[in-house]
């Protein structure tokens, strides 16, 4: 019996620390479970395939984000607060044994996950392919849709 190999397609559009995890955790797990996985990185998601991703996070606009102390939004917007919140998130992730984004990304690539950077986004934000990981290829949404159209699961983040 030769079942058709399962395929997972993911579009990653966000470039913040909290949003970097869902596509990569799902991709790495799916790869472990035998899925052929491709991630298309577009818009701010391009940050995930940069050589050194600079990912931040903030509770502003994110009322659902759990915080050690409930700060009024006006205070959350003070200079330096974004960096503090990013640092707190990093600490929390580390204390719970969660891999860093770089490690998780390396794991994905090692497991055969393909990462495709959106050409239009690169053009829009003046990003050179040399700024990206060697393992990442570039493509248009049309090329990506060829894979996505045959995939069993398609997710967008």
């Amino acid at each position: 019996m030769a079942a058709r190999k399962k395929k997972l397609s993911i579009i990653a559009t966000r470039g913040t620390l909290d949003w970097a995890y869902p596509p990569l955790v799902i991709a790495s797990t799916a790869a472990a479970l035998g899925y052929d996985t491709e991630i298309f990185l577009t818009s701010y998601g391009i940050e995930l395939v940069k050589q050194t991703p600079r990912l931040k996070t903030t509770a502003i606009g994110n009322p659902g984000m759990p915080m050690p102390i409930q700060l009024p939004v006006l205070l959350q917007a003070m200079p330096g607060m974004q960096n503090i919140m990013t640092m707190l998130m990093h600490q929390k992730l580390k204390s719970k044994g969660v891999m860093s984004i770089e490690q998780l990304r390396a794991l994905c690539l090692e497991s055969g996950v393909k990462m495709i950077a959106c050409e239009m986004t690169l053009n829009l934000f003046d990003i050179d392919q040399s700024d990206l990981l060697d393992e990442a290829t570039t493509g248009s949404i049309a090329t990506y849709l060829e894979f996505a159209g045959k995939s069993h699961i398609s997710l967008t983040f």
């Binding site: 955790v25 790495s28 797990t29 472990a32 479970l33 035998g34 719970k96 969660v98 497991s111």
Partner: protein, 76 residues
């Protein structure tokens, strides 16, 4: 206690690391060899059941003792 050819200690690792590491270990094994996995993540029980089912490897045993979960998988 079932005997095994290889062992993987995934203690302290949380989802999805135990199955990712197991996949790596299984990749280096020959068919019919067995892998003993130790994990502390309670989520790993369901993870390994799903892993075995999806990758067509056999989960020979799944036991727990004092917060430690032991799995024996056979590569097919």
């Amino acid at each position: 206690m079932t005997e095994y050819d290889h062992e993987l200690d995934a203690s302290g690792l949380n989802c999805p690391l135990p199955i990712l590491r197991a996949r790596k270990s299984l990749g280096k094994m020959k068919p019919d060899e067995t892998l003993h996995i130790i994990a502390t993540d309670p989520g790993s029980v369901k993870d390994f059941e799903a892993f075995a089912k999806q990758t067509n490897n056999l989960l020979l045993s799944s036991t727990e003792s004092g917060g430690r979960f032991n799995f024996v998988m056979k590569k097919t």
